[in-house]
């Protein structure tokens, strides 16, 4: 008799599982943002999500990728909108017809982090290329290592630009490690190896506040103009990707560049520090190229949708 009961119980469990499988809860319309690890790791998207979701009765969610992969995924039509940071490839994406509009929404900056002892002596380097040169020199004599993202991300692209400016080809050098992972894991690898790496400031501060003293690295070099890190929003080509949630994607871009969105970005803090700086419509003021045409387009779209553009 016991056996029979158990078999019944097992059958019932299976039925419940099957039922659970069949049920898909009707939810709010979903928006998939393909974005960089920094906007996720820093917690910015978690912070913005409730504001956007409430206002547009939506459910934003994101793919945690590097910029290279985010662009690749979007070019296959597997995401609704892009929030990434590699201007050269963003422009190429739009030029190829995959995207229709691209606008700079915010910026932060990159920092060179490394061991507090700073064996390579980057702290007093005159510019970023020189700082990298010092790391390479110390690396060749076995005194330091550099951990690269090595994943085709925006940060990876910036790092490679600086290496080429420094006239160093780091590939396959013994002191140059390619992690192939996101920003936070790369920092943790650099920490374990007491090596150097380049991070966007947001991810660095978030990880620092999370790990506190168990993270032994420190910011050694910062503030150089070529360490500027602007983030762009890209609207996908509706004709090319008819299956994407184009309307909600436009709403997301509008929200991010609106007065409300720009203020929220500025409000977001980790450990008392502001991580991202809204810059829609005033890129020139921080030394970035002007983008008057795009700004005009989005201000018009904001007005069409009864949303407030930020005060410029």
């Amino acid at each position: 008799m016991e056996t029979k009961k158990l078999v019944l119980a097992a059958a019932a469990t299976m039925l419940v599982l099957l039922a659970a499988l069949a049920v898909t809860l009707p939810g709010r319309p979903r928006l998939v943002i393909a974005t960089t690890t920094s906007t996720v790791d820093s917690g910015l998207l978690d912070f913005l999500k409730p504001y956007f979701d409430d206002r547009f009765h939506a459910d934003i969610t994101w793919l945690y990728l590097g910029t290279g992969q985010a662009l690749a995924v979007a070019s296959r039509g597997d995401a609704d909108v892009l929030l990434v940071h590699d201007r050269a490839r963003e422009d190429a994406f739009v030029r190829s017809g995959n995207g229709t509009h691209r606008v700079t929404v915010m910026y932060n900056d990159f920092v060179v982090v490394g061991p507090e002892l700073d064996e390579a002596g980057v702290a007093d380097a005159p510019d970023a290329a020189d700082a990298f040169n010092r790391i390479a020199t110390a690396g060749e004599s076995g005194r330091s290592v550099f951990v690269s993202r090595g994943d085709g991300s925006g940060t990876n692209a910036l790092e490679l630009r600086i290496w080429s400016k420094a006239g160093v080809d780091p590939k396959e050098r013994a002191w140059y490690l390619e992690a192939g992972q996101g920003m936070a894991p790369t920092i943790r690898i650099a920490d374990e190896k007491l090596g150097y790496t380049v991070s966007d400031r947001a991810t660095w501060l978030k990880l620092k506040s999370e790990m506190e003293d168990s993270l032994r690295l420190a910011v050694l070099y910062e503030g150089a103009p070529d360490l500027m890190n602007p983030y762009g929003l890209i609207q996908l080509n509706q004709t090319r990707y008819p299956n994407t949630n184009w309307q909600l994607a436009e709403k997301f871009i509008l929200f991010m560049v609106s007065e409300e969105g720009q203020e929220l970005i500025a409000e977001f803090e980790v450990g008392g520090e502001q991580l991202f700086f809204p810059v829609f419509g005033r890129t020139e003021s921080v030394g970035l190229p002007p983008e008057a045409q795009e700004v005009q387009y989005w201000i018009q779209r904001l007005r069409d949708n009864n949303m407030n553009p930020p005060r410029l």
Binding site: L6, R76, G77
Partner: protein, 248 residues
């Protein structure tokens, strides 16, 4: 020891999160159960049928198919994930199904891994039912269907084990569901993919909490298996025998 401190404080924080019924933890756990439970259920249906067919039927190329099934028990999840991603992608062959980044896609990915595991264990369980039993059944002149049921019943412990092993590999799998599910918060974030993300972000306590849930699930399923085995064998486990023979 700093490493152990982190693990221990993570376990304490983990227990707090679990006991307080943290909605995030519950949602992720349910999603994992739904995906891996579904994959195991469907995988058991297909896998046991396939295993039974391969062990009882005789046809040309049977040895080759058996070798194939056994090889597929070691399918690398990332390869399953990658191929499935390319197929399910909007611009892929099966893009019209719109399955990418859904729990259903995750079920399919795990199903592909569970079927060979269940089939392979079923195959060996049925093969090890002794010849005499099989001949006895046949000589009784039972209908083929009845014959099959009797043999499956003889192999029931092996069949149960195959399902539990299948579930174990599904629930602990991360590579394939990361790729086809996308680890979307509130939609396709499962226990394993959440652990990867949280570890990346340095949120070790949360990661350990979810790791503990994973272990607890695996443990429960195995306890259930032992219990079922014991019962189905009418008391081969000592404590069951003792209880049975005790005074009423």
């Amino acid at each position: 020891m700093p490493g152990w401190d982190e693990i221990l404080s993570g376990m304490v924080r983990g227990l707090q999160l679990i006991l307080s019924g943290d909605p995030g933890v519950i949602q992720i756990t349910l999603l994992s159960l739904r995906v891996s439970g579904g994959a195991t259920l469907l995988g058991a249906l297909v896998g046991i049928s396939l295993g039974a067919l391969l062990s009882l039927a005789d046809f040309r190329g049977r040895t080759f198919v058996v070798a194939l099934v056994n090889t597929m028990t070691g399918l690398p999840p990332v390869v399953v994930g990658l191929v499935l991603y390319l197929l399910l992608s909007s611009s892929g062959l099966l893009g019209f199904l719109k399955l990418l980044y859904t729990p259903e896609a995750m079920v399919v990915a795990q199903l592909i891994m569970v079927i060979p595991i269940v089939a392979s264990i079923t195959l060996s369980a049925i093969s090890s039912v002794d010849q005499e039993t099989k001949q006895a059944v046949r000589s009784l002149g039972a209908s083929p269907f009845r014959e099959l049921l009797i043999i499956l019943n003889e192999a029931r412990v092996g069949l149960l084990t195959s399902v539990v092993v299948g579930f174990g590999s599904a629930i602990s799998e991360v590579g394939a569901i990361m790729m086809v599910g996308g680890n979307l918060l509130g939609h396709t974030r499962a226990l394993t993919t959440a652990v990867v993300l949280l570890t990346n972000q340095g949120e070790f306590a949360q990661a350990i909490a979810l790791g503990m849930v994973l272990l607890a699930l695996g443990f429960s399923v195995n306890v259930l298996l032992m219990f079922l085995r014991g019962e189905l064998f009418s008391g081969t486990l000592p404590y069951l025998t003792a209880r049975r023979s005790g005074p009423k």
